[in-house]
């Protein structure tokens, strides 16, 4: 890439959650729901001597992307690692449920989820988990009516229950610095031992859970550079897609067959994972 091009390139990752939303929606269409002035912050963090944030780290906004009505839910990675607490989780779940009501009423609103999150907020435990379950249910219901777009830009990644939310999306967009996995590297190392999974071995971690690998394994639909314009274009294309006839996660038989074919005595590596998952199990094919 030329220097001039690199200097022109605007980073998406460097924007905070609110700036990301502002960047994505058409000028003049943005309307934030439950903005920071509503002072909806976590009732639990203060009890544990942790400073709260007036939006609990989640920005919800209605607007349009290239004329298509959307609701964007952006998780702020800089606040508590993008963790899902009771309030932030309920904001996303509530926004999705409103979108579902709209869709059923014939006024489709496409959800766009910016998923920079380590998963449930440990300080809020079950309250966060309950919200995540509601998010899952809402995505499944919504995607019968509208495409649901997930974006993981990195470098926090998307883990825990929210990785399931990412998996449920009709289109998932990621950068090469993003990671997607149920358990984070430290958790795997703690459970399985450092010999099995060394959480400091960064090339190994990204080779298995990084954006490029997840794209090669058809768990991510579109791989973008950390380029704000390119990511917006990818999102705009995805929100305008028709609803997939068979979402990836409903192709249960094909996934089970794939899993059954696995030789679990073998240690997984990036190349093998790509071979095993070479086939895209996705109703609408690769939208990219």
């Amino acid at each position: 890439m030329e220097s001039a091009e690199l200097l022109q390139r605007e980073s998406f990752v460097e924007k905070n959650a609110r700036q990301r939303v502002q960047h994505l929606v058409d000028a003049g269409t943005l309307r934030e729901l439950l903005d920071p002035f509503e002072r909806l912050s976590s009732p639990w963090l203060g009890l544990q001597d942790i400073v709260t944030q007036a939006d609990d780290g989640v920005v919800i906004a209605r607007g349009k992307i290239d004329g298509v009505a959307v609701v964007v839910a952006a998780i702020e990675p800089a606040f508590q690692g993008g963790s899902m607490g009771e309030v932030g989780g309920a904001k996303i779940a509530g926004a999705l449920e409103l979108a579902l009501e709209d869709a059923r009423a014939g006024k489709p609103v496409v959800p766009v989820l910016l998923l920079e999150t380590g998963g449930v907020r440990l300080q809020e435990a079950n309250c966060g988990l309950a919200a995540i379950a509601e998010i899952h249910a809402a995505i499944v219901a919504l995607r019968a009516h509208v495409p649901v777009i997930g974006v993981i830009s990195g470098p926090v990644g998307c883990f825990g229950g929210m990785s399931i939310a990412a998996g449920l999306c009709s289109t998932l967009i990621a950068t090469r610095e993003a990671r997607l996995g149920l358990n984070g590297p430290q958790v795997i190392e703690q459970e399985a031992g450092v010999d099995e999974f060394d959480s400091r071995d960064r090339p190994m971690i990204w080779s298995l859970t990084g954006g490029a690998q997840r794209h090669a394994c058809h768990l991510v639909d579109k791989l973008c550079d950390d380029d704000a314009a390119e990511i917006r274009t990818a999102i705009a294309r995805a929100v305008a897609q028709p609803v997939a006839d068979l979402p990836r996660t409903q192709a249960v038989d094909a996934h089970l067959a794939q899993l059954r074919s696995l030789d679990t005595s073998r240690r997984a590596d990036a190349e093998w994972a790509r071979q095993v998952m070479a086939h895209d199990i996705h109703g609408a094919g690769d939208p990219s």
Binding site: S3, L6, L7, P155, R200, R202, W206, G211, A212
Partner: protein, 548 residues
């Protein structure tokens, strides 16, 4: 009158070498003979250099040294530009060595501090690099040098490649004074024609030995742009406007902190916006910092001479020979002694950071738990009083137009008023003073003296300390930019107002730098991956810096 014997040093060397001669093939010693050879070649009380650089460690030899029996080899006086390996300190704990003269301790700074305080190490001095090299030719002439090379041939020719660093200075001191030079190499070849190039001629080297594994390299100068904060960017903007542009700084050295990494990454963006390309920051004395890549690629940097190398930068440097000093083989030639001299005498400016500064402007990175040494900072961060050439920036600091008036090197300390853990940077008395007392040092280990510091930059403002007309005024200027630290709270508002009116201090507003503009989106590269993109894929970051 008895005949004076004029060849005792040479004779002693010949006696020692005669003991190892039967084991040598040309100059190559079988690796399994290394312990025997060290017993033969090192005598109690010898001055010994175990080469430790930032990027090249004679670690096979220093491990062998640490395994010797202290009954047979003891009271060594170790001379080390850099103490970077655990075994460098094990020789003291085991009683093989007693006295230490060094310049930098980096990763061993906590342990070395403890050993100095409890008397296990008798500290000579904590030097600056060229000072230590200089003493190798005067009063610290070494008997044995343990050095390291990427490759050697059987005749002792060494290829030290991009990590040449200290080797020429250390080897020269022994090779021409009846000392013994022992070199470990990652690979030993049969013939000189198989070496990429010859950095040290074979006639300076007495013994070569193949190391059991390649020497250890630590990527010391890689700063991940992800960790640069908005405050650092804010201060970098103030530095570019209030110092680089103000004085027309063309030749310079940067410290290794995130502050200066931020400046490197702002040159192609904010610097470009200020129209400064081609006017500032053209000639560098600097290790190949990955964060300098965008400035090089966008045409800011004309030349870079390096103290040492940086892991992962090899291919990038080799592909930019107009900018970097490279050998006939194409790879970097670094040389710490020359680069330090360049930084001392030929650079307009040194800009770096510190952990503590006292009210007079003396600063140090030594704290009670950490004796890091300063490497080259005191050479770079002081006025070169012997300098006899003018450059625009140097001349700009002259107090008057009088033909006898001299300019000054810019020595800039760039610090946030508080360190991690809310410890104030500004203190009544440096920890270095206490450390000197406890460790029996003649001098307090000050990194940069207040009277050498020409500029102090904090997030509160920029103090042009060279404009101070008295020590008292210098103190007031430091207090004026010390924020809400106890020193800063003691600043007198009226005095601060006067200093501002006299243009001796400037606030961010005076400089026209807005806090709201200081965001990470100003950085030319915001991640290691971006740096790789900027390098066209030539930069190969070490695994631990990868996040893709």
């Amino acid at each position: 009158m008895t005949q004076r014997q004029w060849t005792t040093r040479r004779d002693d060397k010949q006696d020692r070498m005669a003991q190892v001669a039967p084991w040598l093939d040309a100059k190559q010693l079988p690796a399994d003979r290394i312990t025997d050879a060290l017993y033969a070649l090192i005598a109690p009380g010898d001055r010994v250099i175990a080469e430790g650089n930032n990027q090249k460690q004679a670690d096979f030899l220093s491990r062998a040294l640490a395994d010797l029996d202290p009954e047979r080899v003891h009271d060594l006086h170790m001379i080390q530009p850099s103490v970077g390996r655990p075994e460098h300190l094990a020789v003291f704990e085991k009683g093989i060595a007693r006295k230490l003269d060094f310049a930098f301790s980096g990763t061993q700074s906590h342990r070395i501090g403890a050993l100095m305080m409890d008397g296990t190490i008798e500290a000579g001095a904590i030097h600056t690099y060229i000072e230590l090299y200089a003493r190798l030719f005067v009063d610290l002439i070494p008997k044995v040098v343990l050095t390291a090379a990427f490759k050697a041939d059987r005749d002792g020719n060494l290829y030290t490649g991009p990590s040449t660093e200290d080797t020429p200075a250390l080897v020269e001191a022994a090779a021409f004074s009846g000392g013994i030079v022992i070199a470990q190499a990652n690979e030993i070849v049969d013939d000189v024609s198989q070496l990429d190039r010859v950095d040290i001629p074979g006639s300076w080297v007495d013994v070569v030995v193949q190391a059991d594994k390649p020497f250890y390299i630590e990527p010391l100068f890689t700063r991940d742009p992800r960790h640069i904060t908005d405050v650092q960017i804010f201060m970098a903007m103030m530095a570019l406007k209030g110092i680089y542009a103000e004085h027309g700084v063309q030749s310079l050295n940067h410290g290794i902190g995130f502050n200066t990494a931020a400046i490197e990454l702002l040159l192609p963006t904010y610097g470009e916006k200020l129209g400064l390309r081609g006017k500032i920051a053209k000639n560098w004395v600097l290790n190949p910092h990955p964060t300098l890549i965008p400035a090089i690629e966008s045409g800011w940097v004309e030349t870079v001479h390096c103290f040492g190398t940086e892991l992962g930068m090899e291919n990038y440097v080799a592909a930019r020979p107009d900018v970097f000093f490279t050998g006939a083989d194409g790879s970097l030639r670094s040389n710490r002694a020359f680069c330090q001299l360049a930084g001392h005498y030929a650079a307009d400016m040194f800009i770096g950071s510190t952990l503590q500064m006292d009210g007079d402007g003396n600063s140090s990175t030594v704290t009670t738990s950490r004796v890091s040494g300063f490497g080259g900072a005191p050479n770079l961060g002081c006025d070169a009083r012997g300098r006899r050439h003018a450059t625009p920036a140097w001349a700009n600091l002259a107090p008057s137009a009088d033909p006898m008036a001299r300019g000054r090197k810019l020595v800039v300390q760039m610090v946030e008023t508080f360190q991690a853990g809310l410890k104030p940077t500004f203190v009544d008395s440096l920890d270095a003073v206490t450390v000197a007392e406890k460790a029996g040092l003649d001098l307090a280990p000050v990194m940069i003296y207040g009277d050498d510091t020409t500029h102090l930059l904090t997030e509160e403002g920029l103090a042009y300390l060279y404009k101070a007309e008295s020590l008292e005024e210098r103190r007031a200027m430091i207090a004026a930019v010390a924020g809400v630290t106890p020193l800063g709270m003691s600043a007198d508002a009226a005095t601060t107002k006067r200093l501002r009116a006299q243009d001796k201090i400037r606030t961010p507003e005076d400089l026209g730098v807005r806090r709201t503009e200081a965001t990470r989106s100003q950085l030319a590269a915001s991640s290691i991956a971006d740096l790789v993109d900027w390098s066209g894929g030539l930069y190969e970051p070490p695994a631990r810096f990868r996040s893709w």
